[in-house]
Point group: C2
Chain length 413, copies 2
């Protein structure tokens, strides 16, 4: 089955926005076991879009077109669709009533230019948009079913999941597959790929997806079609176990689709423990990650960013002597920071970072990339030093924060 | 002039990674005054890539192809290039020596599979890669000049800027243009577009780029070709001023290419002032943004994330009575937090946030999206409440943090 994706809009070919719609759609099709054949990006140019649609209709089974369904004069998609298919635009009562209801609910008046959005190709079927004014539609042309969706990502995604996917699964008899997502940390991308090199040979019927979102690597496993087949379920289990066996257990953050911060949150909640954080070089990033998880107030008590030595001494009770003798970036300082913040917050655990994110501030002894991580719990505290320079301040802050969270995660196991 | 971009790699058509290379390249070409005609994404499939390259060579002047220059068996680009152009791969001494030096400098041994990367099409010219092992190359075929670059973004970007751009400017006589980037905050995307609707009519020779990176909007202005022409310089100045006049001055963060955090940093350094931050619902994001700016230790003294009431009382000296009488999410509490953190840190300014990021925790009086921002300086403190719900925890945290930074920015003007 050939699937192609067309993203339209001048904002894409000027580089103003990155085309995340195509990667979302590709990933959704992969979950159905279908590798998208080609993606196309074209500006808001009638001739260019027409040419692409005509060309694709000669070969693809499914085409998803996003963008150009808005109310302005740049929004040309419906017009182009009728020109390519030899159809005409007619007033669609459902589309109009939907817009009326949409505006009424929000206490806005519908403006005249929106009326254009109620005109759809006569031979198309409407795809309702619950989150916006732009209705989508689908139609047959050439070898293909064309699904036209708006370009606004959250509208497009909701419509695809709720209406287009079921339609595709009905039309093309796409069947259920087993899925698994594994989150890894602390293994370089190239090494992870190398570890899994033999996968295809070992499990020719399964598909493996691979996503590096620095510094996390996600592996997606997808079974072949499941027809209540015990063998496939067993094969899938074997494949999951094979993948997990290719990594050191400490590198596996979660085999249950969780991110690093979600896994740390899960462990803290499971063990009914609370945490306080003292950050220096990570500048609030650890706190930000931990509080991205909904319900984080259950375990996250308090955090500080103590850039200055005074703050480390005054707020965290780090001893002046430690800082004078060893410096701010040292295991002893990090350990005292972790103890200090735990005590201040009355938390079960304290974690801390002190390091050099760069680009300046490095010395021969303590180069950019040096990070000391402190950990404290009742009656016990410790610290460790790592050297991890990615030649970029933001990347260094990220790897420092994840290294600290991973350290905490392992302590919670 | 027709420019097309081809991004290759299975990781793109599985949705594993988003194709940021195409948007980078599109944006670079726009700065030359060239709107890219089409972008293509294809997997690591020989036939698919061949078909795309042949098709494009009939119409494009410049083609940039990224990906597939690595050492593994999936990396097929050089092979495909010779098949399409009827050329052959030959050993390139420069490419080989470059790799040797690259590995030697990093104290790694070059593995055998890397040798493949030294074979380039005989009729091509090498494009040196200073950051990796994959040399690029360019060649003429059909109507087009094809530039082949690696897919790793930081290698590709460096090679494009350093070697491809000068080559294109030489070959195609592309001339100097004036550029400006304006950063906006607090204006909805649709409203910003509407404000600038007449731009093309007013300044037909200039180009306007538009980028929404929530919650910031960036506007790029590009003049027509400058040939020491006083009129164009004057027109450009008029166009800049026209754009700025279309917005409320408080919405303009920077007309000098700076981000919100960079502009706040610039103002703090210019005025020789220091800052301390007390965050509740923003969970460390403000501190993280401020410390993303290199050299932030010059003005950033200290921050806390006080989720719990105890922490607000114990660390920030917020009075228990204030919290009991008004609650944690209240202007009085936010004001005391700002005063408290300023005092603890001995900073010139204190800022604070207390609000409800959601998805839970909202009430009828204080719905999700409620954010109180506190501000303190010597002898003065104040607070304000906003209601900004974007139906997404991360988005709410972002808009809260930027609203707070913008509040500080305006106080610094």
């Amino acid at each position: 089955m050939i699937v192609e994706i067309v993203s339209t809009g001048d904002e894409l070919i000027t580089g103003s926005i990155v085309d995340t719609n195509a990667s979302f759609l590709s990933s959704e099709f992969l979950e159905l076991g279908i590798l998208v054949k080609r993606c196309h990006v074209v500006g808001d140019d009638k001739k260019d879009i027409q040419a692409v649609l005509k060309e694709i209709s000669l070969r693809a089974d499914i085409v998803i077109v996003t963008g150009g369904l808005g109310p302005t004069k740049d929004d040309l998609t419906a017009e182009i669709a009728v020109e390519v298919t030899g159809d005409e635009l007619i007033f669609n009562k459902h589309a109009f009533e939907h817009m009326e209801a949409f505006f009424k609910e929000r206490h806005f008046e519908m403006s005249d230019i929106n009326k254009k959005q109620a005109y759809l190709p006569s031979k198309s079927i409407i795809i309702q948009n619950d989150c916006g004014t732009a209705s989508g539609f689908y139609l047959n042309h050439g070898k293909s079913v064309f699904y036209f969706l708006p370009g606004v990502p959250f509208e497009m995604k909701a419509m695809f999941k709720k209406r287009v996917l079921p339609d595709i699964c009905g039309k093309f008899e796409i069947s259920h597959r087993l899925k698994k997502k594994i989150t890894l940390f602390g293994v370089p991308e190239s090494k992870a790929a190398q570890n899994l090199e033999d996968f295809e040979k070992q499990f020719p019927d399964m598909k493996l997806g691979f996503r590096a979102a620095f510094p996390i690597i996600e592996i997606k496993l997808l079974s072949s079609v499941v027809l209540d087949n015990i063998k496939i379920k067993k094969d899938f289990k074997n494949a999951s176990e094979w993948i997990l066996s290719r990594f050191d257990p400490s590198q596996i953050v979660s085999a249950e689709r969780l991110s690093m911060e979600e896994e740390v949150a899960r462990l803290l909640i499971e063990k009914k423990k609370t945490i306080a954080v003292a950050e220096s070089c990570t500048g609030g990033l650890i706190a930000n990650l931990l509080t991205d998880v909904p319900g984080s107030s259950a375990y996250f008590l308090f955090s500080v960013v103590t850039y200055s030595n005074e703050a480390k001494i005054n707020i965290l009770d780090v001893s002046q002597k430690t800082i004078i003798d060893y410096g701010a970036v040292h295991e002893n300082t990090a350990e005292e920071m972790a103890k200090g913040v735990m005590g201040k917050a009355g938390a079960d655990f304290g974690i801390s970072t002190s390091g050099i994110a760069g680009p300046t501030g490095g010395t021969e002894d303590k180069p950019v990339g040096t990070i000391c991580i402190g950990f404290a719990k009742q009656g016990f505290s410790t610290a460790r030093t790592y050297c991890l320079d990615f030649h970029d301040r933001s990347k260094n802050k990220k790897i420092f924060a994840y290294t600290c969270l991973n350290y905490l995660r392992k302590k919670l196991l």
